[in-house]
């Protein structure tokens, strides 16, 4: 009898432990599906539905080839390496920092990501990390010597004679997926160095190489002394010199309560008293310049809540008449319902998911201009009348040629009552404009001396979450019309917490 009980216990124990393992497996699968699938794909092949909007492309996990490692070329990364990439994101790309997921969740995701390639189970392929000692002091001499190493190692062939990423081979480089890829321009500064900008990080990058890219490993080519000389020279190419920026982390926004309702006027003193957060944005399609940060303020009055956004844009684009014209814009998404406290409980950053609807306020520079200056198109702007549209008087009523207007498409209207479009989405590709009666967000934007300042405002009755909640998940997107930004070509933030006092 005792034996039977024992064996039942053993069996039950085995069953329970495998059941909990299974449940944990489903949990992490859900986590991956919620936050990673849109870009990295359900099968981990880097071909999710949003991948076409991104450059550089999301990693294809199935090959087991990783750029950011502490291990020699050909060897898979350590868990620590993957954790570093997850926590800090990859600067200058669409991969955001996931620093608000718990260490446990990140570890689980790493396990899941590793399961896409059998290289992690291959003892022969695994090699220990390359040891990195503490760096020697940078001197004029070490920089000079490093310059020689740079040339001897032919770094200039890709990165250029002055480190601008313009060497003779630069234009022809492709990654392992045959996609064009650019060598880093060191003069862009340390903030965008994907492998990290601390001396040890630079050392690691050229020792390991960035597998899957044309950047090779130099592990057998240099003496220890030469390696640090090269690090020093690379540092000297950066305008920030040896200053290194801390890895990016996700900021928190703070809303303040005011006794009077916040005005649309961005110069109003209320904005001087409310705390501002600089929100880093990342381009979905990498390029030289993008809206890299937005200063955000939030004030909640007795009946109204307002957000003030301020960002640098060398040229204001508020006219979209020619086919090559695109507007500037700013948008904010938040989750009107649901639990807000962590990433697990929030939907995917790219416009929510099927469980959680996100609300989006999108301010558009050209709508604002239409309101101020009156609607303009080719006729008003250039006096040009198109074929068959014989006169301006004629074509405004010719509904055959104005199908959008005829179908009462809210985006085709010529009389905007607000420059802000309110939308809802529950997942990538589901963006929907709300009906005319729900277009209740007001906005006002001013472009002055290379800076846009936009205020968006809504009544608390229409946005009850801003009244009821203490923490609200919020994310920001910005479009630079000059750079051809439109729709999914934009810069975005990660989800942030807006804490309401």
């Amino acid at each position: 009898m005792r034996r039977t009980i024992l064996s039942i216990l053993v069996m039950a124990g085995l069953f329970l432990s495998s059941a909990t393992a299974l449940a944990a497996g489903q949990e992490v699968e859900k986590l991956y599906q919620r936050h990673c699938t849109a870009c990295h794909g359900e099968k981990g092949d880097g071909d999710g539905p949003a991948a076409y909007l991104l450059s550089p492309k999301p990693r294809d996990f199935t090959r087991g080839v990783y750029k950011f490692r502490s291990t020699p070329t050909g060897s898979p990364p350590t868990d620590q390496d993957l954790l570093r990439t997850l926590k800090h994101g990859v600067p200058g790309t669409s991969m955001p920092p996931w620093d608000r997921l718990s260490e446990k969740e990140l570890t689980d995701v790493i396990k899941y990501v590793k399961s896409f390639s059998d290289i992690f189970a291959d003892q022969g392929a695994m090699e220990p990390p390359i040891a990195i000692k503490s760096p020697p002091r940078l001197t004029k001499e070490s920089v000079q010597a490093g310059r020689k190493v740079y040339k001897e190692m032919e770094c200039n062939k890709c990165h250029g004679p002055r480190g601008r990423g313009d060497g003779p081979s630069a234009a022809k480089l492709t990654d392992d997926w045959e996609r064009p890829i650019r060598p880093y321009d060191f003069t862009r500064g340390p903030g965008l160095m994907k492998g990290g900008a601390a001396p040890q990080d630079i050392y690691r990058t050229f020792m390991t190489g960035l597998d899957g890219t044309p950047m090779p490993s130099f592990i057998d080519e240099l003496t220890e002394k030469q390696r640090w000389q090269l690090v020093h020279y690379i540092q000297s190419l950066s305008p920030a010199g040896t200053k290194t920026t801390a890895p990016e982390s996700t900021p928190t926004l703070r809303a303040v309560k005011a006794s009077v309702d916040p005005p649309l006027d961005s110069d109003d003193p209320v904005w001087k008293q409310s705390p501002a957060t600089v929100v880093p944005l990342r381009p979905l399609w990498a390029r030289d310049t993008w809206v890299d940060s937005v200063k955000v303020q939030t004030v909640i009055g007795p009946k109204m809540a307002a957000f003030r956004f301020e960002w640098r844009d060398i040229r204001g684009n508020d006219e979209v008449i020619r086919p090559r014209d695109f507007r500037d814009g700013i948008a904010m998404q938040y989750i009107p319902q649901g639990k807000p406290s962590d990433y697990v409980g929030i939907p995917f950053i790219g416009m929510g998911d099927d469980k959680d609807v996100v609300t989006i306020w999108h301010w558009k520079a050209d709508w604002e201009a239409d309101m101020k200056k009156g609607f303009r198109d080719v006729v008003q702007k250039y006096g040009v009348t198109m074929d068959r549209m014989t006169s301006p008087a004629d074509h405004t009523s010719d509904r055959i040629y104005l199908a959008g207007l005829a179908a009462a498409n809210p985006l085709s209207t010529r009389q905007h009552s607000t420059p802000v479009e309110v939308l809802a989405a529950k997942g990538f590709g589901t963006l929907t404009s709300l009906s005319a009666t729900d277009q209740t967000v007001e906005g006002r934007g001013v472009w002055r001396n290379g800076v846009w300042v936009v205020v968006m405002r809504q009544t608390l009755d229409s946005a009850p979450a801003l009244r009821q909640r203490k923490i609200l998940p919020v994310a920001i997107a910005a479009w630079d019309g000059d750079a051809g930004d439109r729709n999914g070509q934009k810069s975005v933030s990660q989800w942030m917490e807006l804490t309401i006092e």
Partner: protein, 244 residues
């Protein structure tokens, strides 16, 4: 107590079996030895007129690498034989031992991979040389078989350790400095794998009698297969036509 003992023993047995299965899977053919096996002798021929080779622009280290050169992706002899076609017989359960060289040598000479197509077995060890007075970025691309990118300076070499080439398949070699450099490592699945010579000729020996699939791979002409019948002690002659 009996049940408990089994509960421990069964997983241990499975574990041992699993390990054995994994090791066996590394090589598809059991080295049982073959007596009086058959031979395939054949020739791979290009059907039609081969297109003129693409000229590869040599615009880097010209002093070492030489002038622009025709691509060697498709090499057809005057009589139509295709070089560098990989032929392998699939479906042999037990057969000859691997007779591949113990160690391979892959060279980079005048900014060219020598040989262009290298035939090796999984877990081969070898060395990649740089015989040029300029550096090369030896960069391999594969689906998880062997992916490295290593700078090999002038007259230096890189050692490939035994367990690095993980399984059979194709690995593309390139140099990121010299964009025209192209090479292939074909990691054979069975010892019954050969490369065609410059006249398109090949022969595969010591094949146990039976009906098999002959797999044909060429970097530019792609993959195809055809049936092949092997009789004891006899030579089967084959003529294989490939086209673009």
């Amino acid at each position: 107590m009996k049940q408990v003992r089994w509960a421990i023993l069964i997983p241990i047995c499975l574990f041992i079996l699993g390990v054995n299965a994994a090791e066996a899977a590394e090589y598809a053919v059991q080295a049982g030895g073959v007596k009086n096996g058959g031979t395939v002798y054949g020739r791979v021929i290009f059907k039609g007129t081969p297109p003129p080779p693409k000229m590869m622009k040599v615009d880097e280290d010209v002093a070492t690498c030489g002038p622009d050169r025709p691509s060697e992706a498709l090499l057809v002899s005057k009589s139509g034989g295709i070089k560098n076609v990989v032929l392998s017989i699939e479906g042999i359960q037990s057969g000859k031992k691997w007779d591949f060289p113990k160690e391979f040598v892959y060279d980079q000479k005048k900014c060219r991979f020598v040989p262009r197509v290298l035939l090796i077995k999984p877990k081969s060890k070898g060395v990649v040389l740089n015989s040029d007075p300029v550096g090369h970025n030896f960069h391999t691309v594969s689906k998880g078989i062997y992916n490295v990118n290593k700078k090999i300076k002038a007259d230096a070499k890189m050692v490939v350790a035994e367990d690095k080439i993980r399984r059979s398949g194709t690995v593309r070699a390139k140099c990121d400095i010299h964009s025209w450099m192209e090479g292939w490592w074909v990691v054979a699945e069975t010892p019954y794998t050969v490369l065609s010579d410059e006249n398109g000729n090949f022969s595969i020996k010591d094949i146990p009698p039976g009906t098999y699939k002959l797999k044909i791979w060429h970097e530019k002409l792609g993959e195809s297969q055809q049936p092949v019948v092997i009789e004891t002690g006899k030579t089967t002659e084959l003529s294989i036509n490939l086209k673009l």
